[in-house]
């Protein structure tokens, strides 16, 4: 005998077969729908998830919140080297809007506290957000007032974790960060954190175009015990190369210096460039063409 599906009134108890009651009980009224060919009996009931209740479930569920897909106002390369007394970090002061050189006075190298400086390339608004986070950390240090402030390696670890966790949420802070400073034991520290959270420390660090253009110069000329003068000359040469070859850069730079005595960011300065090459002056003279 094939068992036919019975309609049991729950009021009678489980598994009991009987007529439906005249006045339907809540068990009858709220029963799950009877099985139809299109609706299976097995499995859970159909339900809807309120998209606003699960914000991260699906990017298109809440169109007002978006994940960072592209950077808008960007900074280019950041260059940094260790030298005898500490660390130098340099960058230009351009906030480019695509190809437009839009904001020509954005500081891309900042002082974090008396032992650390931070340089950033990439999305400027994300960098400003990072500065706010670090400012809150520094205020916490100030409030504790126990003689300890955050060391460069600690800020480097903190930023790595922030960037990595944002990347895991598929909503990165679109920055390449360079953290430099002098540790409490007197040793210089220089580290780089990329927008996905990759991090490394080295004697010289360059992000963006500078990692192609300036790194060879650093590799051949940088020494951990170089004097400040040599370090500045090397930095200026590297900045010059970056300005010559990177179209999204301007001739206005800032260099931050971190030593055991403290940290400071220089005023913006210009470097002299050589543009009076014969080929530039008369570009068509040596070219093959009709005129």
């Amino acid at each position: 005998m094939i068992p036919a599906p019975q309609r049991h009134s729950k009021a009678l108890g489980p598994g009991v077969c009987g007529p439906e009651l005249l006045i339907p009980t809540s068990a009858v009224l709220e029963r799950p729908p009877a099985p139809k060919p299109q609706q299976p009996t097995a499995g859970g009931h159909a339900f809807m998830v309120d998209p606003h209740a699960v914000p991260d479930a699906n990017a298109s569920a809440d169109p007002t919140r978006q994940h960072t897909k592209y950077p808008y106002v960007t900074g280019t390369s950041v260059l940094a080297i260790k030298y005898k007394d500490g660390v130098l970090i340099a960058a230009d002061t351009l906030g480019a809007y695509g190809s437009t050189k839009r904001y020509k006075s954005t500081p891309r190298v900042v002082k974090v506290n008396n032992s650390t400086v931070l340089g950033a390339g990439g999305e400027i608004s994300d960098f400003q957000h990072i500065q706010t986070l670090l400012d809150e950390l520094a205020t916490d240090d100030f409030r504790t007032d126990d003689g300890h402030t955050l060391a460069p390696a600690e800020i480097y670890s903190y930023l790595t974790r922030v960037l990595y966790n944002r990347r895991n949420k598929m909503n990165p802070l679109w920055n390449s960060l360079v953290i430099g400073g002098v540790q409490p034991d007197g040793k210089a520290f220089l580290g780089c954190v990329t927008m996905v959270g990759t991090h490394y420390t080295d004697s010289h660090v360059a992000t963006g175009f500078a990692s192609q253009l300036a790194r060879p110069l650093f590799r051949s000329r940088q020494r951990d015990d170089m004097s400040e003068e040599d370090a500045m000359t090397l930095m200026h040469d590297a900045l010059r190369v970056c300005y010559y070859r990177d179209k999204q850069s301007i001739n206005k730079f800032q260099v931050a210096k971190a030593t055991a005595a403290g940290t400071s960011v220089s005023e913006p300065f210009t470097l002299d460039m050589k543009w009076d090459y014969k080929v530039f002056k008369e570009p068509t003279k040596f070219s093959i063409g009709a005129w």
Partner: protein, 217 residues
């Protein structure tokens, strides 16, 4: 717990001074701080139950951080005072809570100038030129009234505060510590502890002037 706290608002800043009775020889000197930093430009000295004071300070720190996150600026003194006073007052409204057993003296220096506010456990808050709370407050208030604070700089006020605290403490033979902080032009409008040498000099000057007074009598 039994200690006197005074605040002096001078022409270029605010000085907070706490006289702490050293309860035991086993205590590390300089521990058990009663003056807290709330933000770069604001500090609080509490009198009364120390843990209650710390809760109020924590709330002030949160208010200050939230204001900065929202408005991008350091919280003005009168706004911070209002927020702390409302918070303290809340504990007077509901049967499940007991009021905070601490009076706070809030010293700030913002673009409206220096300000000293006092918030007591009922949530009443006023702005003062000079304020005293704690055990020897009556004597301290009499002494403060004699000073011309609007013409004094913070440097001078540090010495005066030390004198007042020494006078207030004079009756007892128990050892005590003085903790002082200031927020003034000299400190770069930042709330910081008074430099150790200045504090030491002020204390010796205070002791010397007390001895003089004794000799006069």
């Amino acid at each position: 717990m039994a200690s006197t706290v005074i605040g002096l608002r001078c022409k270029d800043g605010v000085v907070l001074a706490v006289e702490k009775l050293v309860l035991s020889k086993l205590l590390v000197a300089g521990s058990n701080k009663k003056i807290y930093h709330v933000d770069k430009h604001a500090g609080i000295a509490t009198a009364g139950l120390a843990p209650d004071g710390r809760m109020v300070v924590n709330r002030a720190c949160e208010e200050s951080a939230q204001y900065k996150r929202f408005y991008g600026e350091l919280i003005p003194g009168h706004v911070l005072c209002d927020r702390v006073a409302s918070y303290v007052h809340m504990f007077n409204l509901y049967w499940a809570f007991r009021p905070y057993g601490a009076t706070t003296l809030l010293a700030t220096y913002d673009k409206n100038g220096p300000a000293l506010h006092m918030i007591d456990p009922s949530g009443t808050a006023y702005r003062y030129f000079g304020a005293a709370v704690g055990k020897g407050r009556q004597l301290a208030r009499n002494e403060i009234e004699k000073l011309k604070l609007s013409e004094m700089t913070c440097r001078e006020a540090v010495v005066e505060a030390a004198k007042i605290l020494h006078r207030v403490h004079d009756d007892e033979a128990k050892p005590f510590e003085i903790e002082m902080s200031w927020v003034c032009d000299e400190s770069g409008k930042t709330h910081e502890r008074v430099p150790a040498e200045l504090l030491a000099a002020a204390c010796t000057a205070a002791k010397a002037s007390l001895d003089e007074d004794d000799m006069d009598e």
